[in-house]
């Protein structure tokens, strides 16, 4: 007998099995239990996953990720912190720091994360009678894959349990462009702006797949 199949050493007799079967009389006679999948199915599944990997690979790791709760995003905290640290470093290095100019709106910059490292954005925030009008000039962000879209968020600064407010969605399928977002929350309470890749139909929560991140207020240099 092949080693693949474990020997049963316990003294289990037919009576034990008969008793078990008597309590689940249908299962062993259920045609579904004995139905065999078509032989091509394994290849089809392997190919489907390979295709999706190939499509997702070039610029963005499209996760086809369903919505997750904020608490479920916690395992990615280390990744977030690293991304945040990278963003701060980039912002400091290029000297593009949010400034309150009182004219054409407060300026800010966003940097691409590991999921979209070639992406960047600059923007302005105008405090209008209707709320904050945020214009984002986005460069290098690939079009959202079919079935996905981008969503912008304003969030509190605490990474442990951030409060997020959605401020608009877009897809970038026309190439680099400027998008206009609106928000009713204040930059003092929600100073971080992010863009995530979302799956259509996956629910209203953030996917956690952040592709752009920046600060709407001047970063403290310590």
């Amino acid at each position: 007998m092949s080693d693949k199949y474990e020997d049963i050493d316990e003294p289990v007799d037919d009576d034990a099995f008969e008793a078990l079967v008597a309590q689940m009389p249908d299962a062993l006679r259920d045609s579904a239990v004995w139905a065999e999948p078509p032989p091509w199915l394994a290849e089809s599944i392997v190919a489907a996953i390979a295709d999706e990997r190939a499509e997702a690979a070039p610029a963005i790791v499209a996760p086809a990720a369903p919505a997750r709760t904020r608490r479920q995003r916690r395992p990615r905290q280390t990744w977030w912190l690293a991304a945040a640290a990278a963003v701060v470093a980039i912002v400091v290095a290029v000297g593009v720091i949010a400034t309150r100019d009182g004219g054409g709106g407060d300026e800010f910059a966003m940097a691409g994360t590991d999921l979209a490292s070639s992406a960047s954005a600059t923007g302005t925030v105008d405090d209008t009678d209707s709320g904050l009008e945020i214009e984002l000039d986005i460069r290098g962000l690939p079009p959202a894959p079919e079935g996905f879209f981008y969503e912008a968020w304003m969030r509190t600064a605490n990474d442990d349990a951030p409060d997020l407010t959605a401020i608009g969605t877009f897809h970038m399928r026309g190439g680099d462009s400027t998008v206009t977002l609106w928000s009713a929350v204040d930059v003092d309470t929600h100073p971080i702006i992010t863009v995530t890749l979302q799956e259509e139909g996956a629910g209203p929560e953030s996917s956690g797949q952040v592709v752009l991140r920046g600060s709407l207020v001047e970063e403290s240099s310590g």
Binding site: D14, A16, R29
Partner: protein, 197 residues
């Protein structure tokens, strides 16, 4: 490769790992799909969608959960989604709005899953004997004639198969059974909590 290692490597989408996961659980996923849909063609689509969705969500699969129950949850949810869509169309077509046919219960599909997983762990010769005896309803002499082997061999293989199955399925006997929701986590649907079709 054990389940934990399979689960750890599944997110990579590596062809060998995907094949290994399918080899271990593909037939059981198919059983769930057929149990719910009673349609082989639709069941194959459900199996494919189950594995694709599982792979998409696998990066967030935590190693403290078991791979089998997680796949079961995705499979059942996927099959029931298809079932509901199909039923909706059929009901609209026939206008038989008063006829309500429910999909099999969580307990019944879980039992079918466990039995299928156990049967897949049997050596092929023992599995065939069990199929001929329990599903086709053949007697020992009839099985012997069908397979061209002595009746004594049929009896001994059936005996070994019974011993294995009794051990493999002991945990689903009513006196030993955890609630299905305990096995799947919480309300029995939480295994699909991070999967959305």
């Amino acid at each position: 490769m054990d389940d934990r290692e399979l689960a750890r490597r599944f997110p990579s989408g590596d062809e060998q790992v995907v094949r290994a996961v399918y080899e271990r659980y593909g037939r059981a996923v198919h059983t769930i799909a057929v149990s719910v849909l009673h349609d082989q063609s639709a069941a194959a689509d459900v199996v494919q969608a189950t594995f694709l969705n599982a792979w998409r969500a696998s990066a967030r699969f935590t190693p403290d959960r078991e791979l089998g129950p997680w796949l079961y949850s995705i499979a059942r949810r996927q099959a029931i989604d298809v079932y509901r869509r199909t039923r909706r169309v059929e009901v609209m077509d026939t206008e038989s709005m008063d006829i309500v046919e429910l999909p099999p219960s969580l307990e019944r599909t879980w039992e079918a899953w466990e039995v299928r997983v156990a049967l897949d762990k049997l050596p092929p010769d023992e599995r065939e004997i069990v199929r001929l005896g329990w599903f086709d309803g053949l007697s020992h002499p009839e099985i012997a004639e069908r397979l061209g082997i002595p009746v004594g061999t049929v009896k001994s293989r059936m005996h070994r198969a019974h011993r294995r199955l009794a051990t493999l399925l002991a945990h689903i006997a009513p006196e030993n059974r955890s609630s299905v929701s305990d096995v799947l986590g919480g309300d029995g649907q939480s295994g699909t909590g991070d999967v959305s079709e």
